[in-house]
């Protein structure tokens, strides 16, 4: 079995779903491998296609609205309780980071260092120069990080996130 042409891989998907475009149509006339790939993909999608799904009941939207409104009414009081503690904790963390950074800067001579290939966090590549931080943020999933770290990272600004992933002090 020949492999389909790599540059047409996305067009194979469209064609298998009956959205074939003109350039790919003319390519298909000449390429047996791509034609075979489209047929195989169509066949596989037919097998993998799940049964039709029922629709959620009409009560669902109202129920969610009422619960969301109730939750929102509860929230401010909880925030009022948590905000001072969270602010104090954040100030302590920032002070500790600044202190350790200042100590390192004062104590150690400046040494030019090649960028490290490893990241302090498992499973994530370090940001490369010029890489869009949004891509990094988009690559954070609860299943990779666990709910605690995920919550922290998902709530962080892009700049904070780059610092966390690159382990750069503020």
């Amino acid at each position: 079995m020949k492999r389909p042409c790599e540059e047409w891989s996305d067009a194979c998907v469209d064609a298998a779903e009956d959205h074939i475009n003109a350039p790919f149509a003319s390519h298909l006339e000449k390429c047996d491998a791509c034609r075979e790939a489209v047929e195989r993909l169509r066949d596989d999608l037919e097998l993998l296609k799940p049964d039709p799904s029922p629709v959620p009941g009409p009560w669902l939207a109202k129920s969610i609205r009422h619960k969301a409104e109730a939750e929102r009414e509860r929230r401010p009081s909880r925030l009022l309780l948590l905000a001072p503690a969270a602010a104090a904790a954040a100030v302590l963390v920032i002070l500790a980071l600044i202190a350790s950074w200042t100590a390192e800067t004062v104590d150690s001579p400046v040494i030019a260092e090649a960028p490290s290939d490893s990241t302090p966090f498992p499973g994530h590549d370090i940001l490369q120069p010029g890489e869009d931080s949004t891509l990094v943020l988009n690559d954070i999933w609860e299943e990779d990080w666990g709910p605690g770290v995920y919550g922290l990272l998902a709530g962080a600004d892009d700049d904070d996130l780059i610092r966390i992933l690159e382990n750069i002090p503020p």
């Binding site: 993909l41 029922p54 939207a61 690559d139």
Partner: protein, 198 residues
């Protein structure tokens, strides 16, 4: 004049006006405290979320519950939805995270009762087709769990949620073409695992 016609038309006209807004407009209205905007957002996206959850878990009795949790988490944590990120992408990421953790436990449970299926087959020969279909669904779901996470997300968003590739790309943070290539590779892997051929 316009105020008068709205007053005559009543709540129905208000709802029509909400329906005509895009997601960003509804999110702003909900942030200002308009509960009907939240309800409109749910109605707009509930089918997609429900499909994803139901097909990921294979369990209708928990699909309603998880769907509610997904929307509640999205609607009550909107401060995490920053800039011009689309509400739908944000919602589907939450739905993927929720349905995956529940689906894992469930599919382990689904693989267990092989003897029960064999007994049912011998007792009711007419059930063969249903049993085969159920077995195939289990195999597909199990094969899906073995895919790399990125492929898994894209396949579930396409096959289960039936999202267009543009929305899938926004949700997983890639381009539309790249999402399609990943999907194509994932289907080839699934084929090998489910059908046992290259």
């Amino acid at each position: 004049m316009s105020k008068r016609s709205v007053a005559i038309a009543g709540p129905r006209a208000d709802l029509d006006e909400l329906e005509s807004r895009d997601d960003a407009g509804l999110v702003r209205a909900w942030r200002r405290g308009d509960g009907r905007a939240a309800e409109t957002l749910v109605r707009r996206h509930q089918k997609t979320v429900y499909r994803l959850v139901l097909r990921s878990t294979g369990d209708p009795s928990t699909a309603d519950d998880i769907t509610q949790k997904v929307f509640l988490k999205a609607l009550t944590n909107l401060e995490q939805l920053k800039g011009d990120r689309a509400f739908q992408s944000w919602l589907m990421r939450i739905a993927l995270n929720f349905s995956r953790s529940r689906g894992r436990g469930l599919s382990r449970w689904l693989r267990a009762p092989a003897e029960a299926l064999a007994r049912l087959r011998s007792e009711s020969p007419g059930q063969d087709e249903i049993i085969d279909k159920s077995r195939m669904s289990q195999r597909i779901r199990a094969a899906m769990e073995k895919l790399p996470k990125r492929q898994q997300r894209i396949v579930r968003l396409r096959l289960y949620a039936e999202l267009p590739f543009k929305s899938i790309a926004d949700t997983v943070g890639t381009t539309e073409a790249s999402a399609k290539v990943t999907y194509h590779n994932a289907i080839q892997t699934l084929r090998r695992q489910v059908r046992g051929r290259a």
